[in-house]
Symmetry: C2
Subunit: 494 residues, 2 copies
């Protein structure tokens, strides 16, 4: 029986597996496992993809601006050095075991630029000083007033001073210079005044807090200024110069795109033009960074070509002036992209004026970059721009005749031009974009004149050197002459 049973059992089992549905039950089980496995695999690969994307992004951040990597190393270095206050017994005992304040100071005041770090160090030390002594005073008053009243005196003083200091942070003039100091004031005051209720040696606590914060701040200042320093002022200066170049390129790009629309370039060329064209957007979006750099710049000592009291605020005015030109370029851009393209005949004439404006900006960028007074070249180019605008206005006056050429007797060039254009008249709808373009160009030139003035003001305030541009001048004059020829040819077309 036993073997039969075994066989039977075996068969029964086999049948079950093969036919009675438990096999069906098993198939979904492996299916679930597979699904779960696939799900987990999907999750993992999704996560891996995300990680890979993140690493790529981080890598791009590092390679695009290696100074960021250097900044990180500097932070690590400063922290490793300040850790010595823990690792070396005499140092640790020297600050009464309060080395943590030095570590914290390094963490919170270390910023990428010298100016920002100096601002935070100065504010932190000043805020701690003021609040420390005030808190010790308040503690003394409170302790004189009896044990039961003490918490109320301390609590009320914390409430009042914290409210007042918080309010001061909301006043723009305080915010721009002492925002961090006010925060540290509240922090230290609350900490010391309230600690006074439990800590016996309050004066010692305050003294240690102040000295450790000074140690931390000094270390930060040393590291930030000695190891590959990045200056806010220098950054602002470069940003303004770079933005001027971008503005000039955008203006050029607009003209190029407008006039070469029919002549199809290669794709990569078009892309390059497009990138140039979009440069004005950088100008539009850099207001916030300009302001913070100017704000930090004034904390920086004399460095490179910049004095301690370099007129950083004037850079903000130049930036604002550039933005006002950039708004016009934005309008110009829409003009270019509009469907109504001006008659070829008419628009041919306008390019030179536009290029004149960008030449002025480029020259200004050069002047600011070299930190020189306005060169005679700038004057020359500005004059050229003005005369180009005058010409543009004169040309606009002659356009009506194109609409009905018979109205002007004896205008030979115009007649020639019209006969060259084969169509005798131009419709007004063709004229609309060109007239718009012209008036925006005229407006831009006005704003560029304001930019010239702002740069001149900077040169005066910062006492830039005199621009010795003799050699360049002669070169530029040559260029000017050839430009002038170009204009003459332009006029001859009419």
């Amino acid at each position: 029986m036993a073997p039969r049973k075994e066989v039977f059992e075996g068969v029964e089992w086999r049948i079950r597996v093969a036919a009675d549905g438990s096999s069906e039950a098993l198939v979904p089980a492996t299916g679930l496992a597979r699904k779960a496995w696939l799900g987990i695999k999907g999750l993992i690969s999704g996560f891996a993809l995300k990680v890979r994307m993140f690493v790529k992004k981080a890598w791009d951040v590092g390679t695009n601006d290696p100074r960021k990597v250097i900044h990180c190393i500097k932070v690590g270095l400063a922290l490793a050095i300040v850790s010595l206050f823990y690792f070396m017994r005499p140092l640790y005992d020297g600050v009464g075991g309060n080395a943590m304040w030095a570590v914290m100071t390094v963490v919170v005041v270390f910023e990428p630029t010298v100016g920002a770090t100096l601002y935070k160090c100065f504010n932190r030390v000043l805020g701690t000083f003021l609040a420390g002594f005030l808190a010790v005073g308040v503690h003394w008053v409170a302790s004189q007033s009896g044990e039961r009243v003490e918490p109320f005196v301390v609590g009320a003083s914390v409430f009042l001073l914290a409210s007042a200091a918080t309010f001061s942070r909301l006043i723009p003039s305080v915010k721009s210079r002492f925002d961090y100091g006010a925060l540290i004031f509240i922090l230290t005051f609350s900490f010391v005044a309230v600690s006074g209720y439990r800590v016996d040696k309050l004066f010692e606590l305050t003294h240690h807090r102040i000295s450790t914060i000074i140690i931390g701040s000094s270390l930060c200042i040393l590291v930030i200024m000695l190891v590959y320093p990045i200056w806010s002022g220098q950054e602002l200066h470069s940003l303004i110069v770079r933005n001027m170049d971008k503005l000039a390129n955008s203006l050029d790009g607009c003209v190029t795109q407008y006039f070469n629309r029919s002549g199809g370039g290669t794709n990569s060329e078009e892309e390059a033009t497009d990138n140039k064209l979009q440069g004005y957007k950088c100008v539009l979006s850099s207001k916030a960074s300009e302001e913070s750099m100017a704000n930090f710049g004034r904390w920086e000592p004399s460095h490179g070509q910049f004095n301690f009291r370099h007129p950083w605020k004037q850079y903000l005015k130049i930036g604002a002036s550039m933005r006002s030109s950039a708004y016009c370029i934005e309008a110009l851009n829409s003009c270019i992209n509009s469907e109504n393209q001006a008659a070829k005949l008419i628009k041919q004439h306008l390019g030179s004026g536009c290029l004149k404006s960008s030449n002025v900006i480029r020259e200004l960028a050069e002047t600011v970059k070299m930190m020189k007074k306005k060169s005679s070249t700038t004057d020359l180019l500005a004059e050229e721009m003005k005369s180009a605008v005058q010409e543009l206005q004169n040309d606009l006056k002659t356009i009506p005749h194109l609409l009905n050429p018979s109205a002007i007797p004896g205008n030979k060039t115009l007649e020639t031009a019209c006969s060259e254009a084969t169509t005798p008249t131009v419709t007004l709808m063709e004229l609309v974009p060109v007239v718009t373009l012209a008036s925006i160009l005229i407006e831009i030139s006005g704003r560029i004149e304001a930019l010239v003035d702002a740069v001149e003001e900077l040169a005066k305030l910062a006492e830039f050197g005199i621009n010795d541009d003799k050699s360049k001048h002669s070169k530029m004059t040559d260029k000017t002459v050839s430009d002038a020829k170009h204009i003459t040819q332009g006029i001859c077309l009419y």
Copy 2:
């Protein structure tokens, strides 16, 4: 002799005073004193003036936005409450004398809006947690490696992790969400890991730091959410609505100024118009605040009409769209201020189109404010705007005939218009600003259409309710009819 001497001395002294130059020496001395006194008085009065100016400025800040004062009181309140951890023995002992972390947490995480405070609380707790446990782990590894190697292991880990965390703060996607968390991570990690070298009960230290930070954060969250809460999201919503109104007003202001230039209003009226006109500048300059509000808004729980996952990012798109219109208004503005004023005859025609555009913006502002889906009124107004643009383009086509009216036979209205205008032709220089204005208006209407789309997208994403604007609709239709009449009259002029 004695009396004589006295007399003599007296006389001598008197002579000296009166005649020998010492009197002259005395006069400058009193002069110096007076000068010094005047100088000090000047300094004091100058200082008093500065203080008075500062107090006035502070007072203005408070009266212009009383919520700022409330914020200050909230900070004071939160700090006074957290001080109880010092004043009440059981609470003080409960956190092992580490109550200062709670005080510090309150000072540094308390921000004016709920979103910003939640962001900081969450980041502070998360950063402390992660860094605390990691630091305890590193300390364990370091302590296993022998006393001589320990400082190097700890120092190297601080250097590496601090550098890595600092680097992560420079990656935009991390910066926008976890900037503060990364800072706190560095702070806590350095502090705990390095303290491990001197402190025995490291785990307890970490535990106390985490629990006090959680206590401080919870207190802040309670105070910020219960006492007169200010929500970043709500602020962003109101800012966008307010900016839309300002944009519409600017557009209107431009038209008013352009068309009423000759009809001199009173000075105060002019000022009011001018203020309205400058509204677009607010739109141009609010990018940074929009971004930070949207960033903090996503940390806020459901409040008022806003859900937890309200599409705050879409508000940024609306803001960008508004800015692109504002750029055009800036160009329009320069157009208005330009010296060439268009012929009255021609410019009379353009106002209605301009007003159409601002009506659309106003209706959009209303829709967003009420958090409703795009109303049929919006569609209607947008259609009207489009047809106004179409009309504008048609009108532009008829302008050449004004330059030479005899060219079009049988255009009766136009002839009537011209005879009404008494001058038969208009010079092109008079046309330039009007053509520019028209093309900028056309451009603006295109951008407003993009704005309509952006608002529609927001309504879809945020699942706004359906706009039941029957009553308003009928009212608006009435207005539309009268507007239409106005237009017809406008056309009749030609």
